[in-house]
């Protein structure tokens, strides 16, 4: 108890005398922990607890039968006629758009006749329960809809399915909480008609007896079913998507840890300052009998107090931030990966405990080194009067050597391959780079300040000379502060370069990938895994218009390959496209490669696909298509940035041999050389009257693509901003500490004739110098980190090749903003310095 009272009086109570500085330190920890917690919570909601929209009303089945392009209806009959007790539930699964709400919902067709006993109770909506026979509404434009949509039985609504709209009547609602999603349910026959998907279903869910294992059931069923059809555990699609989303989630996690690292620097600085100030007290308590361990424990305890207080704020703050983060993450998941609706954000006990563990853990680890130094202080030395202020000697040379070693280790680590599909060594390289930078900082700061102080003095006056000398004199403090700020700037720089490079790569890629003049697709929002179709007669109509040179009918299917979602697409290779350059990894002319694909079992695959599945030119891929199985030879690999899923591209005629549905997912229109684009556009507009399609010009499509691209990085920008905010707060706190520790110096300056404005200028110049040092170090570190991000982490996570590009204007703008913020951080400490009463400070009566 006595120790606790002493701890409070000697270490905690003094913090109340500097409430602003203490609060800034706590807030730095709080922000760092809050960001980590927010990303974790949002990640779980947006990706970790991801559940395929199509598992709505799936119930508890064991297996599912799937096939690209749909499972033939006959398979249902084959399954139920097997000599096993298997319950089969066929389903149609697609999406429909509610135009009035601008919302896209899963559209699920269920066999409401054969399975009336299963669904009647679940879908009954009209009171009193059981009084209406829902079978009477089948085939009469009837739908059932989830409760969360807000509709009631009897409501009429319009649905956009593929390129057609139709009106439907809500016959009932079903509760869509607890694992189900707000979806539109109709009878399977009605769904087939709406989707013009006759003779096929999307999935058959199976319930089997537990007499055999699932693997045995799978084997048994595969032997009885057509080759192109697959049997797998139910929910396999969800698991595949979760695996695909794992890299995205991991990369965001890493970014969120940067704020925590910046916070760790600041805790280190705070405890170091505390140790320096309290040296005489340490000497006194040691002389009075305190052990080294208790001194160590005291300072570690001080850090733990900051960590605990920070975590207390972080928990509600992180929960609040998660609400915004999940929206941003959800938009990215939808655009790049898979249709999904984020789950509920759950702040569980384990999340709260994790927040406290992280906050206290990081604070304690950061504080250990200065706390250990405090425990080694000799009482006599600490209490000696008349000595100048002690500053721990910084081992510049040793630390620089260590920095070089860590930098070398980072370079080596960056060359290592992925581990389990994750760029673990890439992450390690980034951490090693940050550590190397921190160790090199004292040498860098000493070099710059000692070389520049006279120059600064002659350029900016004696205040600048004093400022630079002061930074050099408190080298450890300065180095840690510059380290913190430069880490945040490095994060901003590296992500800025990575995103800028990616953007430039995508922009250049789109020049060739979008060679057509106009593009048409079914109306409704886009998603990486939704591919509604356009009526074939519309495509033919457009192709026949004067002024249209040719029309490319592109068809896209979602498939599963190697346990991961992928996309299979076909293009009409009879269409002559103008290509400016080769987008193929081999560098061969694209016309030559596409000619190889024509009418053959050859494919080209996207770079992400080749990377994920470790395939290359000359390999073959085995695809289950319809009722058949086909082996397709890879003749080349192409750069593709449209999604991370991985694409396989083949000739339209080849695909039609396996999947005969000719309706295209989208149409690319090439205007004849002697025709006017606007005239053709108007003609197409007339031809599409009555169809719900969107027509976009080449230029607008690119603009839209770039907008989507920018939106997907919104969350990374938000994380950068937090890291920079934490660092700038650290600058305020550290400058405040410097002002308080140097109050005697400022008072003497006032005695010597310094005006208040000169004292203010001194602090602001110090803040500015810190900003310049941090910017220089941060940009250098950021450049190194960007190379790892672009060529290692991104490549190993997603498989994309990104061409390095300097987004100079954006970087300059961002760095300038941070610099201004850093100088601004000096305003409050400068005011404190100016407000000091020199008389109170200097005289020793």
């Amino acid at each position: 108890m006595g120790h606790f009272i002493l701890f409070y009086r000697l270490l905690i109570r003094p913090l109340f005398k500097e409430p602003v500085r203490a609060f800034l330190t706590v807030l730095s920890v709080a922000l760092g922990v809050a960001v980590v917690l927010a990303i974790d919570l949002a990640g779980t909601a947006a990706t970790g607890s991801f559940r395929s929209s199509m598992d709505t009303l799936a119930g508890d089945h064991d297996l599912e039968i799937v096939a690209t392009g749909g499972v033939p209806e006959a398979v249902v009959g084959s399954v139920v006629s097997l000599p096993y007790a298997i319950h089969a539930s066929p389903r149609i699964e697609d999406f429909a758009v509610l135009p009035e709400k601008k919302q896209t919902l899963p559209l699920i067709g269920l066999d409401l006749v054969a399975e009336a006993s299963s669904y009647a109770n679940r879908l009954q909506g009209a009171p009193p329960a059981g009084s209406e026979n829902y079978l009477e509404h089948l085939g009469k434009s009837s739908i059932w809809i989830g409760e969360s949509t807000g509709y009631k039985p009897g409501d009429r609504l319009e649905l956009l399915i593929n390129d057609h709209s139709k009106k439907y009547i809500v016959r009932g609602i079903y509760p869509d909480a607890h694992g189900n999603e707000g979806a539109i349910v109709m009878d399977i026959a009605e769904a087939q008609e709406a989707l013009t998907r006759y003779g096929r279903v999307d999935r058959i869910l199976l319930k089997v007896l537990p007499s055999s294992t699932l693997e045995e059931w799978q084997q048994r069923l595969r032997s009885a079913l057509p080759l192109g059809v697959d049997v797998r555990p139910q929910g396999a699609g969800t698991n595949e998507n979760r695996r695909m989303l794992a890299s995205f989630r991991w990369n965001l996690r890493l970014l969120s840890y940067i704020s925590l690292i910046v916070g760790a620097f600041l805790i280190y600085n705070t405890i170091s300052v505390s140790v320096v100030r309290r040296r005489p007290e340490i000497g006194i308590v040691r002389a009075l009998g305190a052990s080294r361990k208790s001194v160590l424990a005291a300072f570690v305890g001080e850090a733990a107090t900051f960590g605990f207080a920070g975590a207390l704020i972080a928990v509600p703050l992180g929960r609040l931030m998660a609400t915004g983060a999940v929206k941003l993450m959800g938009a990215t998941v939808d655009a790049l990966y898979v249709s999904s609706r984020p789950g509920v954000i759950e702040l569980s006990v384990s999340s709260v405990l994790l927040a406290f563990a992280v906050g206290i853990g990081v604070a304690v680890v950061s504080a250990y080194s200065p706390a250990r130094e405090a425990s080694l202080v000799s009482p006599v030395e600490a209490m000696a009067r008349g000595r100048r202020e002690f500053d721990v000697r910084v081992q510049k040379r040793r630390d620089l050597m260590l920095a070089v070693a860590l930098g070398t280790a980072a370079a080596a680590s960056s060359r290592a391959p992925a581990l389990g599909g994750k760029p673990v060594f890439g992450y390690l390289a980034v951490i090693l780079l940050i550590a190397a930078s921190a160790l090199a900082m004292p040498a860098f700061v000493a070099l710059v300040t000692s070389c520049a102080s006279k120059l600064l003095g002659s350029l900016l006056g004696v205040e600048a000379l004093l400022a630079s000398r002061s930074l050099d004199a408190s080298l450890r403090r300065t180095s840690v502060l510059v380290g913190a700020l430069s880490t945040a700037i490095a994060m901003m720089t590296s992500v800025g370069i990575m995103v800028g490079s990616f953007r430039q790569t995508v922009t250049l890629w789109m020049n060739d990938e979008l060679p057509a003049d106009l593009y048409l697709r079914p109306a409704g929002s886009r998603s990486a895994d939704r591919h509604p179709t356009i009526s074939l007669e519309l495509a033919d109509k457009i192709a026949g218009l004067p002024g249209v040179a040719w029309v490319d009918r592109v068809r896209v299917y979602e498939i599963s390959y190697g346990g991961m979602p992928a996309t299979l697409a076909s293009v009409d290779l009879k269409v002559m496209r103008p290509y400016k350059q080769s987008d193929l990894l081999s560098g061969r002319p694209i016309e030559q490669v596409l000619a190889n694909l024509r009418d053959s079992n050859s494919v080209i695959v996207s770079e992400p696909f080749a990377y994920k599945h470790n395939v290359k030119i000359g390999n073959s891929v085995l695809l289950l298509l319809g009722e058949k199985q086909g082996s397709f030879r890879i003749v080349d690999v192409y750069y593709d940035y449209s999604s991370e899923r991985g694409n396989i591209l083949m000739d339209r005629n080849t695909l039609l041999q396996y999947l005969p549905d000719p309706a295209p997912s989208n149409i690319a229109v090439y205007v004849a050389a002697d025709a006017q684009l606007e005239t053709v556009r108007a003609e197409i507009g007339q031809a599409t009257a009555g169809y719900r399609v969107l027509m976009t010009s080449n230029r607008d499509l690119r603009k839209e693509a770039i907008k989507v691209f920018d939106r997907t990085f919104a969350i990374t920008y938000a994380l950068e901003a937090v890291a920079v905010l934490v660092a700038v707060m650290g600058v305020v706190g550290a400058l405040l500490a410097l002002v308080i520790d140097r109050r005697r110096e400022f008072s003497v300056l006032r005695f010597l004739g310094a005006a208040k404005g000169q004292v203010r200028k001194l602090i602001l110049v110090e803040a500015g110098l810190l900003g310049i040092l941090a910017n220089c170090a941060g940009v250098a570190l950021g450049l190194a980190m960007s190379l790892v991000l672009i060529f290692v982490i991104n490549k190993q996570s997603f498989g994309w090749t990104i061409r390095f590009h300097w987004p100079v204007a954006i970087l300059l703008g961002a760095i300038s903003l941070v610099y201004v913020a850093t100088v601004g951080a000096g305003i409050y400490p400068a005011n404190v310095a100016v407000g000091l009463n020199p008389l109170e400070v200097v005289h020793e009566e």
Binding site: V462, G753, L839, V842, H843
Partner: protein
Amino acid sequence: MAILSLQNVSKDYLTDGQCVRALREVTLEVSCGDFLALVGRSGCGKSTLLNLAGAMDFPTSGEVLVNGVATSSLNDAGLTRLRREKVGFIFQSFQLLHTLTVCENVELPWLLAGKPAGRAAARDRLAWVELEELEDRYPHQLSGGQMQRVAIARALIHAPSILLADEPTGNLDTETGNNILLLLQRVTREHNTATILATHSLEAAALATGVVRMRDGKIEEIVR
């Protein structure tokens, strides 16, 4: 004419809500060439008198005139200007900036006044205190006596009319302290400054041209 004149000056401070009268109706005139010792116990008002004389603070009542200018007629900027031009301070703890060399410390008030580089003037002042060979050293490389000499050189950089020293020998051994006092005496004589020394030292009182005895904020006796 007196370079420094305190006319019926009182100074009150508020400490924890309580009013403390540090100086009570003090009247004192100091001319160039005077070497005055302020003596008295701790808390008698010596430092307060020095602060007012050095234009670091305003009197609560009465008038402080420095070179004929009433300090209470000036704002903070005016006091700063007056200090720069007319007053030099010397402290018990030397108060040198450890990040600057000896020469840079001496030059500092010159630079704060916005004057062009005062390296030559700084070297000149260091020569006055016989430390010219140490100009590139840092304070932590000097002895206590050397540090105080540097502080004196710094106080003299503007060739001030008034030199105020608050216990300048308080942190020095006897011999070094005596040397400092002799130095101050010489400087006062050679440069015709008005030097006021707050001190407990009998040696200082013995060297002074006048002794001002203070007690409880009042001047008890002035012996010239």
